[in-house]
Amino acid sequence: MKFRFIALVLLLAQPAFAQLERKLASETQEVELIFHAPRHINLLTVEPLDKKTLHFAIMHTFGPLNGGIQNLYGLDNGANIQFSFEYALSDKFSLAASRSSRDKFYNLYGRYHLLTQTQDNKIPFSLSLMGGAGVNTSDYTFLQEANPNFTDRTSYAAQIMIARKFSDKISLQVSPMMAYFNDPNPIYLIDGDQNLYLALGLSGKYKITGKSSLTFQYIPNLNSDLRSNVGVGIDIEAGGHVFQMYFVTSQALNEQYLLASNNGRIGEEFRIGFNVNRVFATGRRKK
């Protein structure tokens, strides 16, 4: 009996093939892709860039749809086009330059990512800051009065972006925003006459398939009588690019003009908009 027991133990003593325990490399994980890209329709998002990567976005908004087929639903009216390049100096901070054709407007801005939502909900939302200054470089020499000087052409924008991915499908962002124009000259292609504009940017994403989402933006103005901006669209991620197609009520593309421009009535004066986002790696990777 005892020998049988010994034999059994010896048999068991043969080291059994022990599989390695499957464990994740890091315990706390950040929530990723709250939005598909650093842009969401017209607004910036909390989506960060990694150090030394460059985000290139080209955005267009066309004329109003209500011109019908005669104007090919606004495409004949010419687009406001904005190019932007955003370069990440670190994983938290990036600097960007953009140029919109409307008023030949150059904008310089930075984004800083203060908080990143984590999967264990210790940090329940992501928070990023944005601040920038821009200048209108349109030629006004045809004016009777003096050409606006550089200071008069300058305007500023700032916002706090707070976003949360509520589920795999739904993400929302709230962005209290402000814009300040040194001189809201009526010759500029803005509609407001105030210096300071306050608004609340709301961005939403609803994922419909693995690589596409319905998108939504609403930017209620808080201190002006201008109609608020509304946009609905679709984001499609296509191997390296993120395409964003949408209907929006304003042709404005940068933050200052978004807040200071009047918007068309929903349904009647929607415009087609189209963004392409692409991220490039710069510098050589370490082997």
Binding site: I6, L10, A13, P15, L20, R22, A25, L33, D91
Partner: protein, 182 residues
């Protein structure tokens, strides 16, 4: 009392039998790389967090990697890869469990070509594959494994984009270079 002595004796046998015969090499910092060579875009993804075990006595091996550690050099691309292609939240690991076909007997400094046959699992799909590799004994306590194999994404239900299909290759080449220690 006697039973207790017998028990400790067994324990002792158990311990020495493990130490004396075990030919188990392990690592948690193996290198793995995949190469995607599509017509318009070629890129690699790398990780140095490959976990592996080779048992030369039993001729078995077991490898796994946390796919969250794969980096392609562009963060947004990594995030898209994790969320939409590999779906790492659902399937965090790629793993291979198999046997070495050949009998391996290596003296330090020698190397031998080997073939591993077993199950490769990624994106929740498991398939039987065969991987050729080279095993080198660096010392009594260290072996190096170099291996390369190809993975067809469609075999593992990983969709490649239909709109811009020239960016991501259907066939990925996976290269391993791993030092394992006793």
């Amino acid at each position: 009392m006697k039973n207790l002595i017998v028990f400790f004796l067994f324990l002792f046998i158990l311990t020495i039998s493990r130490n004396a015969f075990a030919q188990v090499y392990k690592t948690e910092v193996g290198n793995v790389e995949f190469l995607s060579k599509a017509s318009l875009n070629e890129f690699t993804g790398e990780s140095a967090k490959l976990n592996g075990l080779i048992d030369l006595e039993k001729n078995v091996l077991d490898f796994f990697i946390d796919l969250n550690t794969l980096k392609t050099g562009i963060g947004l691309r990594d995030r898209h890869m994790r969320e939409n292609y590999l779906e790492t939240k659902k399937y965090p690991f790629a793993e291979f469990v198999g046997k070495i076909k050949e009998v391996v007997s290596l003296k330090p400094g020698e190397s031998q070509n080997v073939t591993a046959v077993g199950k490769f699992k990624i994106h929740g799909v498991e398939r039987e594959i065969s991987v050729p590799g080279k095993l080198t004994a660096l010392s009594v306590n260290e072996v190096k494994l170099d291996a390369q194999f190809k993975v067809l994404l469609s075999d593992y239900n990983i969709d490649i984009p239909k709109v811009v299909f020239y960016e991501l290759a259907e066939e990925q080449t996976v290269t391993l270079s791993v030092n394992l220690k006793k």
